[in-house]
Symmetry: C2
Subunit: 527 residues, 2 copies
Amino acid sequence: MVKWTNYDELDSAKELASLKNQVDVKSVMSGDNGAKRVKEYSVPMSSGLVYNYASKQVDDKVVDTLAKLADEAELVDKFACLYNGEVVNTGEKRLVLHQLTRGQLGDDVVADDVNKREFYVSQQERIAEFANKVHNGEIVNEKGEKFTTAVQIGIGGSDLGPRAMYLSLENWAKTNKCFKMEARFISNVDPDDASAVLDGIDVAHSIFILVSKSGTTLETLTNESFVKDALKKAGLDPSKHMIAVTSETSPLAKSDDYLDAFFMDDYIGGRFSSTSSVGGAVLSLAFGPEIFARFLNGAAAEDKNSTNKDIRKNPALLDALIGVYERNVLGYGTTAVLPYSQALSRFPAHLQQLDMESNGKSVNRFGEEISYKTGPVIYGEPGTNGQHSFYQLLHQGTDIIPLQFIGFKNSQMGNDVVIENSTSQQKLKANVAAQIVAFACGKDDDNRNKYFEGNRPSSIIVGDELTPEALGALLAHFENKVMFQGFTWNINSFDQEGVQLGKVLAKKVLAGDTDGALKAYSELLEI
Amino acid sequence: MVKWTNYDELDSAKELASLKNQVDVKSVMSGDNGAKRVKEYSVPMSSGLVYNYASKQVDDKVVDTLAKLADEAELVDKFACLYNGEVVNTGEKRLVLHQLTRGQLGDDVVADDVNKREFYVSQQERIAEFANKVHNGEIVNEKGEKFTTAVQIGIGGSDLGPRAMYLSLENWAKTNKCFKMEARFISNVDPDDASAVLDGIDVAHSIFILVSKSGTTLETLTNESFVKDALKKAGLDPSKHMIAVTSETSPLAKSDDYLDAFFMDDYIGGRFSSTSSVGGAVLSLAFGPEIFARFLNGAAAEDKNSTNKDIRKNPALLDALIGVYERNVLGYGTTAVLPYSQALSRFPAHLQQLDMESNGKSVNRFGEEISYKTGPVIYGEPGTNGQHSFYQLLHQGTDIIPLQFIGFKNSQMGNDVVIENSTSQQKLKANVAAQIVAFACGKDDDNRNKYFEGNRPSSIIVGDELTPEALGALLAHFENKVMFQGFTWNINSFDQEGVQLGKVLAKKVLAGDTDGALKAYSELLEI
């Protein structure tokens, strides 16, 4: 039996607190020692990725203490509890099974009299069969014509993750001749969102994927109506253009309104659902089931790395605990995610949800108030774009922001030009290497305006190329990092009670049941 | 003569510091008093917008002290110095003249023997003439066919602002029948960025806008080559498909490589250049010069509001100083920008650059180190999407994040559906009203997991509709807010020395001139 203990009650946490300002990055990253650290402070991941933490404010002593912390807090054992099917989501009294969508790390998990791994696989198989039929022309529109566009209707986890994954692989798939159809996404209840997407597609050749676990998400049902209206206005039958991804118990599950329905369940939170049917339907339609399967394989391989009890061989665990050290000992409140890959343009937005929704909590898993900091603010944009934007503050602002770089040796599309003796890809890589060192080592200058203090910590994940496997591994790395941090802080990373109050009050506004400030704001906005 | 004084030397700053925790939002926003505040704590802006700060942690006493601070720091006088042409950008010894692109608030400004207002207007007129000729078929491709797509090649300020503005008005223009041509953007040196954009357009009917003030920006020149290669491969003459936006002294200014060149100058920083030729060329091509002129009018009207010495009638000044109070007295390190408008999807990314690049500084305008906090981290995504994502942390996380909401009474496209007795636009507005009150007032609950502490401050800018004028006013509001904060902190908001070191090191990497950590990272990335 693992023991769930608050972070500030752990002996190793107290020891860690004594190691504040243990390492000055500027001094340890200078000269030959810097090169040595880059070579040594590197953890292999799966799919050719490596997690390098040379420029973090840690040394062997700090990492040894993080290892103790991992042991004392039984983090890897708690992960085992999770994948073996314990009720780890205590708030909602649910199992947490997203890892089972891509592999099986432990015992068979049976819930509701169903082997859950078999259930998830069966849904993947059903989606694969459906997607293949769409691609080969067995499932077609009313006129017998092939569908050319898949449109996901969903919000939050049913939108950000699948959208980020689609964008990550869109150009890779086109280059590698496995691109099947365009995907688009409708999410916001803002009517201009659905209108703009619908204006930009050929609805007669579009298949819509309605994604809502409960079948009751306001935005999604509203946007479904929007789409149905557009289909009807075009003289089309909505039920021939729409599939559902939902839970088996939802009102959408067995409705004649859809060509077919694919299932998820309560054991997969929205923000962890990219590898479930939520991501599976749209990605299998866009790229084919084989590509989706490769993406799952990458995630599964990285999940396996996360079971390693040796922190120096478990990149998600190490990344998580360095983050805890930065948050709780060094006192940094935000983290920037900076992928040097345009394909990962929306990956930071997905991580923003994954991390902030999971670990933005002020009570422990027993509902008791805690007195230490939990999840940081996460944000980011691709490099080199960010360099010409907010990096100024990262370099010379008054707060230190830990940085999470991501880079690849090769581009996805292979198309390049040589200018001044280097390719664009080389320039891209030269920039990320330069930034890491600039942040770490800074630069002296008598003109204080041109002075760089340095000692600004970063890590980088380096890969060969952003393939489906590499993307799966990246995704799993961050999912597991967030999970390990949640375990460390003794919070429940798998519920989201903080989103409920706004929903309740919005309903009151729409019902006209308001007074005081709510009524005044309603008047201001002329609702 | 104004006096440039460090923030912590101002008497009013010390007085402000004594007002920490002066206001509990939860208590003042409850009941009738909350409704009263919503009505009273409201400042009219131009173009039908209003800035409402009822849910901020301020009361009359705090605002009175902010007014004193504005007076003591001579903030409005410093703005006058700026628009009257003093060398306000002390680091680079430059005037700061972006306001002159949209109006004239003070004296004639003559620099380099040129009346600068006349210069900016002349460039607008040249762009208008050019754009009209493209639209009416006088300027065409080699085959005599009309151009259908404009592609901006630029990075940082030459990308983020114009891109955000384009997306803000794209659907409005389509709905209002003034849409002239699509715009696309190439920015990142990642070769996959240019490749993907080029794959998605019809190059034979595309006109490319190369934007670089110096004419030496690495990313932009590299992407120009990328585009030229693509044009040549398609059998086209690049010089018949490309215009330049640059300074008159740049190598691009009088080159036969371009159909035409339009000018900017050193007195307009990239992040403040959306209303200059940098935004003017692409927006005039996309929507027509009349729409760009309306956008400028909106910005000019809001600039005028920023000259008001009464803080209660100067929304940018009030917004700025409430931000200073939150940053320096209440100790909040980040601000989230949350537009309830899908059209503003990239507006937060633009503000992120505008704010963080301007005010992420640790030295004052004389190059002396300062010991107080300056610019916060800025990030955001459109609502209602964000509600299903990172709002969990905003509601129940361990840090307080000030929030900047933006909302409109009407949608841009006018297309809507009624579900459960309300339109999507009503649902959108109900959600933003509900969120403000949820953040401010929270909710008691014996279950601490469902407990909302409240007292989370926000403001909202409300408009009738996101028109060109409203967008211009919004943009100017934030530009002036950032400027006033920079003046208050006594920093130079108009240089960006923090971006230089990375450029220097990247060049070293590409030249193979590396050792130590830089060499090791270069090897890790196989550059």
